[in-house]
């Protein structure tokens, strides 16, 4: 079975500090990995994805994520967080065999001014 785990329910950082949101995955075959962000009372928005190729993926709003096959991780990072980055972040994995997308439980990020 495919799954993703986001070990932290909440991440709190000060504005200007680096932000990391953790994600580990478990999937048979090649993983297709995604990050989405949800702002209050809004639908999810796509941030970035890893399909193949370079392990460091760059996405929207200055976010990037690093695919690490040996650690089965796909952590989301931003070098300098903004207050406006405060939101709920979801990691997701899609199995290529049946295209089902499974989301993690989400991590709430709070960036304080």
């Amino acid at each position: 079975a495919q799954s993703v785990a986001q070990p932290e329910d909440q991440v709190n950082v000060a504005e200007g500090n680096p932000l990391t949101v953790k994600c580990t995955y478990s999937v048979s075959g090649n993983p297709y990995l995604f990050w989405y962000v949800q702002y209050p009372n809004r639908g999810l928005q796509f941030l970035l994805k890893y399909i193949t190729g370079d392990n460091l993926v760059k996405g929207s709003y200055g976010f990037e994520a690093e695919f690490n096959k040996s650690q089965t991780s796909f952590h989301l990072k931003k070098p300098s967080a903004l207050v406006s980055d405060s939101a709920l972040y979801f990691c997701a994995v899609e199995r290529w065999s049946d295209y089902k997308l499974s989301f993690g439980a989400g991590t709430t990020v709070t960036v304080r001014a």
């Binding site: 297709y32 949800q38 639908g43 994805k49 399909i51 049946d98 295209y99 989400g106």
Partner: protein, 116 residues
């Protein structure tokens, strides 16, 4: 122009009622989805349609019936509503099923269903 729009935004109803949520996308996408987000923000896929054909049907009570009159619309009808159906329901679309073309999902803004 809203890419994926769903109505209503809020739906408050009594147990036992039947209700529908409508979704439309103007992106020309082939695939549409319904997701359910519970009170703990956990997100789970319910259904997916590709060109009006059902391709994903997760373990969902048969009180939930999706209908896709054309590939731009995917409606969700719920019969005999129960308290546990209270959640936020998100519609989404993508250009193709899966990631054949590295496609991403575009989500609507959600319908908050409250069953009293």
């Amino acid at each position: 122009d809203t890419a994926v729009s769903q109505t209503p935004k809020y739906l408050v109803t009594q147990m036992g009622n039947d209700k529908s949520i409508k979704c439309e996308q103007n992106l020309g996408h082939d695939t549409m989805y319904w997701y359910k987000q519970d009170s703990k923000k956990f997100l789970k896929i319910m259904f997916s349609y590709n060109n009006k054909e059902l391709i994903i049907n997760e373990t969902v009570p048969n009180r939930f019936s999706p209908k896709s009159p054309d590939k731009a619309h995917l409606n969700l009808h719920i019969n005999s509503l129960e308290l546990g159906d209270s959640a936020v329901y998100f519609c989404a679309s993508s250009r193709a099923a899966g990631v054949l073309s590295n496609e991403k999902l575009f989500f609507g803004s959600g319908t908050q269903l409250s069953v009293l």
